[in-house]
């Protein structure tokens, strides 16, 4: 190699090394905690007092890191305590939930009536919202509690007249119906105070527990342990109600 080429080659190598060095340095600088340009209030390190992010901004990991587990202004759980009895607030919630459920079910286990209009003739688009649970603006479309059937409107009917036009006045003789349906149970039986409760209702058409007991369910019914997926491992169904051998005739 000539001296010129050699010195040119060395300069190139140093240049590459510099660029590489800057790149590596830049990489580590970039992944470090830089200043949060969006939120000038955030400081590094542990925050002793609560620091509220600006509206619309997310709390940083730094903010969350040092805190103990539990509720604060960053996240609030609305779960009520689940126990036999429980506080007054929990009871009101339970009664409200049971009454609410009973409003569109003739009895515990009846197919709920549909609280919104549906297309009357064509095959239903129910699964668009009810295949998985779906919440929007405080209203929940619960996931189907049972396996998929092709003819939803065979069992689920609307709760208001589907046809247009003036209704005839109801017959005087078509008086009320005095049927009083069995109501959903408020809790299952526990062998002792904090034992897993047995399933106090039959599971026919209710194989998907999360439909009612999942995060989008009514408050008192929401499971405190949604991460556990094998419900019947601890919450056994009733042989009598589920027509298991030895149960109902």
């Amino acid at each position: 190699m000539s001296e010129e080429e050699a010195s040119g080659g060395a300069a190139l190598q140093i240049g590459f090394a510099l660029i590489l060095g800057v790149a590596v340095l830049g990489f580590f600088v970039g992944t470090g905690d830089g200043e949060d340009l969006r939120n000038p209030l955030v400081t590094h390190g542990v925050a002793d007092e609560e620091v509220t992010p600006a509206p619309g901004a997310m709390p940083s990991y730094a903010m969350i890191r040092g805190k103990g587990r539990g509720q604060d202004s960053d996240w609030a759980s609305e779960r009520k305590a689940l126990s036999a009895g429980g506080s007054g607030e929990a009871l009101v919630g339970k009664t409200a939930a049971l009454t609410d459920r009973a409003a569109n079910r003739a009895y515990d286990g009846a197919p709920p009536t549909i609280p919104h209009p549906v297309r009357q003739r064509a095959a239903a688009e129910c699964l668009a919202c009810h295949e998985d649970t779906f919440s929007v603006r405080g209203k929940s479309a619960s996931a189907m509690s049972h396996a998929e059937y092709a003819s939803c409107t065979q069992c689920h009917v609307v709760s208001e007249a589907p046809m247009p036009g003036a209704m005839l006045p109801p017959d005087a003789t078509f008086a009320a119906n005095s049927f009083v349906g069995m109501v959903s149970p408020s809790e299952g039986e526990r062998a002792w105070a904090i034992a897993p409760p047995t399933t106090p209702h039959h599971t026919s058409m209710r194989e998907n527990c999360m439909s009612c007991h999942g995060p989008n369910g009514r408050d008192p019914m929401v499971t405190p342990h949604p991460e556990r997926q094998s419900c019947q491992q601890c919450h056994p169904p009733s042989a009598g109600m589920d027509q298991a051998p030895g149960g109902a005739r």
């Binding site: 009871l91 005839l168 106090p200």
Partner: protein, 809 residues
């Protein structure tokens, strides 16, 4: 309350909670939980469950009924039932509520000066006995496909064995009669050969003018849910309007009313023209038949050549001309039937039965299945679906028709009368050999004054609502209602259009308020026990018949004695002591159902519709006849009748055996019958077709379902389905009230465009469940010549715009 995960605290809480619970008592103590005690009372503790078939349609689903404190409080699908496997439909899920409308009839009532006044049962029985004694030959019984088997059997024995009268006919005359005559003309014996398992195996299912998505929902979902499991099943809807069923079908063949006859012939034509008919099957098992002159149910023999020649006219183009169905679709059907590698099930109900050529179309559809060999293998079946829960079990099998005796026997045949007289221990000649009046004739005669030859003076109606369901009501009901010499007795559970015109109203027990048995659409006899008491002084329909019989017996009516002088309904308990079941308080001292059924069973052997002992049905979720005892105490049902692999009565070595063949040679009949126009078609004055029918939410005339809030809210009112373009032409808006007029009557109805169903141009549809909008003032009473079944599906109507906004007459 935050959840402190500290272990010590956790255990502390646990201990405190346990102590509190122990101090407060059991969890079911309302005070401890603080939960609303009224709510607490309604929870599942203390509910007992028992099985019953559903009260509603001919599918015959089994339900589990939850009872607490003598009230039905819940329903669940019965998972152990073969028919529905735990699934129900909306009516089935709400069947328990049907018992609790607050206007349940509780007391017998007699119409005095136009008003119904309460009277005692004792007085009511005397009144009925007097009406019988007036002239036993003029006393008629109008029964029902919703009668339990023992109820129908008691009425049958009372009339034919007691009164020597054959004027007993069921509402099934308006519903399944053409299916019956179709079976008889084709196979020589009634009821489908296949069963619901055909639905699980068919590759192609064809609907012939029926809407099972709404009318047999559990059977329909049994088919379409196969798709969710990855199975392919092709559904074809041959219909006169688009329905919920159409939405699930791959093909919709819209045909002009009545032209189903041409479509069936078109398929037969193609099988012959293409050479794809099943020569082997036909040579072994079939003969050909055509109408005799004059026409008779069993017709004349026809040669194959003549059959082929007769079918030559029904080319796809000719069929398109008659029916409006494109020729290519007829070819598609012909190709499907011509294939040997697929299984085809045809389903039909009222579209083919409520038809002035109902017998003909039934025989033609049987014919194409026989001609193509799509018969006798699981999935290959011409399957008539029965509408009512026990039209098969009671009306057809017990033979509560004007010309029948139990077990498929005929009053006109002496050996059959002798059988009945022997089983009923009657003196020879007690049973009349002359058939009585079929339903339309019965009511027509009741509407005819005595001076003009009307011999029927009294009709006793049980478990049905002719006031709402008789066609052409102006002709078949009003004149009798107005005639003071005519009398109507109605056993009912609620005020209906029939109690409205009745002279004597008897409050009846309903469904699980009594023991019962039904026979569903797949030959399955099912049983249930009483679970709750009926309201007020309502009593079992079966008791009512027996009590009237005893009243007549006590008054010296000879017919109520058997040949040894014993009461016709003499029943003994296990110790041999007579039980006075005619006293209501003793009625449940024994199981009257069981006694009557064990007597009735004897009749079932003749036509090989063998029934098992009552106790077998107690154990099972129904069993399909013929049920045979394979070893002592072991009873085996038959799924596929006439098929050698399953039917024990098929002759040895045969694959197929039509052992009740009308020609006595183990052959079924493939019929040729031509297309003819219906008696009333649209014309210049009445330019549209009027079709009537049902909807999912309401059972028949709605007397039960309109009192169930969930069902009534979902379908509160009658309406007329009008095509969108027809509405535009009439300048009628959705919801506007229009006037329907036929030659027989007028009715104003609100319009529903693109609602539950969508009729084509020139056609309207009206459901008949709403008694305030009684469409049967407009319908036609023309009927099939053999079955005497009227045609509710087609007559001519004009639709006119109105200025007023209230519906009604």
């Amino acid at each position: 309350m935050t959840i402190d995960t500290d272990r010590r605290t956790f255990l502390k809480i646990g201990a405190m909670a346990a102590a509190t619970a122990a101090a407060a008592g059991t969890p079911s103590d309302a005070d401890a939980t603080g939960l609303d005690p009224e709510l607490r009372k309604r929870m599942g503790a203390g509910v007992t469950w028992d099985k019953a078939p559903c009260r509603f349609c001919g599918t015959g689903c089994h339900v589990q009924v939850g009872v607490k404190n003598d009230k039905v409080v819940a329903i669940a699908g019965d998972k152990l039932a073969d028919v529905n496997k735990g699934l129900l439909c909306v009516k089935g899920y709400h069947v328990g509520l049907a018992l609790y409308g607050e206007d349940r009839l509780r007391q017998p009532m007699l119409r005095v000066n136009g008003e119904l006044q309460p009277i005692s049962w004792d007085k009511a029985l005397d009144i009925i006995a007097e009406r019988v004694e007036l002239d036993p030959k003029g006393f008629a019984y109008y029964g029902s496909g919703q009668w339990t088997i023992p109820e129908g059997y008691a009425a049958q024995k009372f009339m034919k064995g007691g009164l020597t009268s054959n004027h007993i006919d069921p509402n099934a005359r308006l519903c399944m009669a053409s299916a019956v005559t179709g079976f008889l003309a084709a196979y020589g014996v009634d009821e489908p050969a296949g069963c619901y398992e055909d639905l699980d195996k068919a590759d192609v299912v064809i609907m012939w003018g029926n809407n099972p998505a709404e009318m047999h929902p559990v059977l329909f979902s049994r088919i379409i849910d196969r798709r969710s499991r990855g199975q392919e099943v092709t559904l074809i809807d041959i219909g006169t309007r688009r329905t919920r069923t159409t939405a699930h079908c791959q093909h919709y063949l819209e045909f002009k009313p009545q032209s189903d006859l041409a479509i069936a012939n078109g398929i037969a034509h193609l099988l012959l023209a293409n050479g794809t008919w099943d020569k082997e099957f036909v040579d072994a098992n079939c003969s050909f038949r055509t109408d005799s002159e004059p026409r008779g149910l069993f017709g004349d023999a026809m040669s194959f050549e003549d059959y082929k020649a007769a079918m030559a006219e029904y080319t796809p183009e000719r069929v398109e001309q008659i029916s409006g169905v494109p020729a290519k679709d007829i070819r598609m059907l012909g190709d499907l039937f011509g294939r040997k590698d697929i299984r085809i099930t045809s389903l039909w109900c009222m579209g083919m039965n409520q038809h002035t050529e109902g017998t003909a179309i039934n025989t033609l559809v049987h014919g194409i299945h026989l001609l193509s060999g799509h018969f006798g293998k699981p999935g290959d079946a011409p399957t008539s679906l029965t509408g009512q829960p026990s039209a098969c079990g009671t009306a057809r099998e017990v033979g509560t028709l004007a010309h029948l005796l139990p077990g498929g026997r005929l009053v006109a045949k002496e050996p059959h009368r002798k059988d009945a007289e022997e089983y009923w221990n009657l003196p020879a000649g007690r049973i009349d050999g002359k058939p009585g009046f079929h339903t339309l004739k019965m009511f027509e005669d009741w509407c005819t004054p005595k001076s003009k030859g009307g011999s029927i003076h009294t009709i006793w109606v049980q478990v049905t609502n002719p006031g709402q369901t008789m066609p052409n009501r102006n002709k078949l009901l009003e004149p009798g209602v107005k005639d003071p010499n005519k009398f109507m007795i109605v056993s009912e559970v609620y005020p209906t259009a029939t109690t409205e015109i009745a002279d004597l109203v008897l409050p009846s027990a309903m469904w699980v308020e009594k023991n019962g048995m039904f026979g569903n659409s797949e030959r399955r006899t099912q049983q249930w026990f009483r679970m709750v008491k009926p309201p007020g002084d309502a009593r079992d329909d079966c008791w009512q018949t027996i009590a009237v019989a005893k009243r007549l017996f006590d008054r010296g009516f000879a017919g109520m004695k058997d040949k040894d002088g014993k009461f016709l309904f003499h029943i003994e308990d296990d110790s041999g002591k007579a039980v006075p079941i005619w006293n209501w308080s003793n009625y449940y001292d024994v199981n009257v159902d069981k006694h009557l059924f064990e007597e009735y069973r004897l009749f079932s052997r003749l036509k090989h519709k063998d029934l098992a002992p009552y106790d077998e049905y107690v154990k099972a979720r129904g069993m399909r006849w013929p049920v045979v005892e394979t070893e002592p105490g072991v009873w085996r049902e038959t799924k596929f009748r006439f098929s050698g692999f399953d039917d024990p009565y098929v002759a040895e070595g045969r694959a197929i055996d039509f052992y009740h063949s009308t020609t006595g040679d183990s052959r079924a009949q493939i019929w040729f019958r031509k297309y003819t126009d219906p008696p009333e078609m649209p014309d210049a004055e009445y330019p549209m077709w009027l079709c009537t029918g049902r909807v999912l939410e309401h059972w028949h005339s709605g007397t039960m379902t309109r009192r169930v809030p969930q069902l009534a809210r979902a379908m509160p009112q009658g309406y007329v389905e009008l095509n969108r373009d027809d509405a535009a032409e009439l300048s009628v808006d959705n919801g506007e009230v229009v006037r329907l007029t036929t030659r027989r009557g007028t009715l104003d109805l609100p319009v529903w465009i693109d609602g539950r169903g969508a009729p084509p141009r020139g056609s309207v549809f009206v459901p008949f469940f709403d008694e305030r909008l009684l469409i049967n003032f407009l319908t036609l009473d023309a009927h099939d010549p053999f079955s005497k079944q009227p045609d509710y599906k087609k007559c001519a109507v004009k639709v006119s715009k109105l200025s007023k906004t209230t519906a009604g007459r």
